[in-house]
Amino acid sequence: MNYMLEALVNAVKMIVGFNPELLSIVSVSLKVSFISTTLAAIVGVPLGFSIAIRDFWGKRGIIILLNTLLALPTVVVGLFIYSLISRSGPIGRIGLLYTPAAMVAGQFILALPIVTALTVSAIQGMDKRIRKTALTLGANNLQTVSILISERKFAIFSAIIAGFGRVFAEVGVSMMLGGNIKGYTRNITTAIAFEAGKGEFSLGLALGIILLSIALSINILVSYFQKKTV
């Protein structure tokens, strides 16, 4: 079918045409996913780290739980947060629903188990001598954590990027908590769903291509940055 071709042409047209609506959609996506991933990394990496490095009762259970949460459906996260922040919910007063902040909250919950679980698996397999070496050289706890992270930089980056990919591509949470409000909470994925719902498949695909191009650019940047810090 020529949907794909049409979509490509459309994508190029959109990018070249550069209308403000596209700009708004893209910037909502970027802003929300960037913030939620950053938060998930700040919480998830040290969390995953301490789970991996320590021996404690229930460790196995926590890892199983984390792996289970990888199967957290966006709709469920959406419903859950909705039930908290809707007008009739316990913290409805704040008026978070249908704001980018609500999207961030939902995406954070979605990304957190991914970043944490993958950090655990990144750290768990590593050479036991690394930690010992850091200690013998006088590193304190924080310093030990950071050298371990730096030794497994690639895997930790992968964990964060997997988290980012998940939230950048997700639609359920954004739709339910953001509301897909044009010019405010409409992001790329909700726009895609919207176009697809109208039967505008090639437009939807074009937006999909734009989304992937942005993800690609981000990954190239990250990879460049990663290389520089090696």
Binding site: L97, G179, T190, K198, G199, E200
Partner: protein, 248 residues
Amino acid sequence: RAEQIRIRMATTTSTENSGLLNELFPPFEKMFSVKVDVIAVGTGKALKLGENGDVDVVFVHARKAEDNFVEEGFGVNRRDVMYNDFVIVGPEDDPAFIRGNDGVEALTKIFYNKSFFVSRGDESGTHKKEKELWKIKDIEPEGKWYLETGQGMGATLQLADEKQAYTLIDRGTYIAYKGKVNLVILCEGDKRLFNPYGIIAVNPKRHPHTNYIHAMALIGWVTSPEGQEIIGDFKKGGKVLFHPNAYE
């Protein structure tokens, strides 16, 4: 599963959500030993699926688009099946004072008052109806007060409730959400708010693989006296949702 004859019908989410199809189809399925697979999507997409030959029959409510669909040769044998009506809902205190039975007047008041109005903005039957109504007074709704959700009716209603805004909604969905939202019906009964449903077979000349025979059987069933009776008797929350009109 392979022996079972199946036909596919694309319909709108609101139709399926109403629960009507669960009453309307089983007798037909039994009678013809056929299974109806319901694909519930937006109106635009439902018609697109018909256009692409992915379904055998479409059951939607967007009169103009339906006519186009038939004119362009994608569908054949369109029949009227029933209608329900749209209502305008809004906050109890009705800041734009739209209470009444004139839908166009109500929208005009909302426009001048710049009260929040939530539109589905998704080219669905409901959205098309809404645009039709604005068009009557040549109003171009735009601005901070006019929120486009691009979502289904339920989500749109919730959003309107959250924002304490007005919105146009089919009665069936509103009834389904009653008790979950605080918005109340402020405007109803206008003939211009009626919402006719049509059923169309996908053109077998264009898509020979479609199950045209059974599609026609289904069309026959829903427009038959028995089918029409089931529609007329279907109630939700004690209220009749759809008015059969195959014979009008």
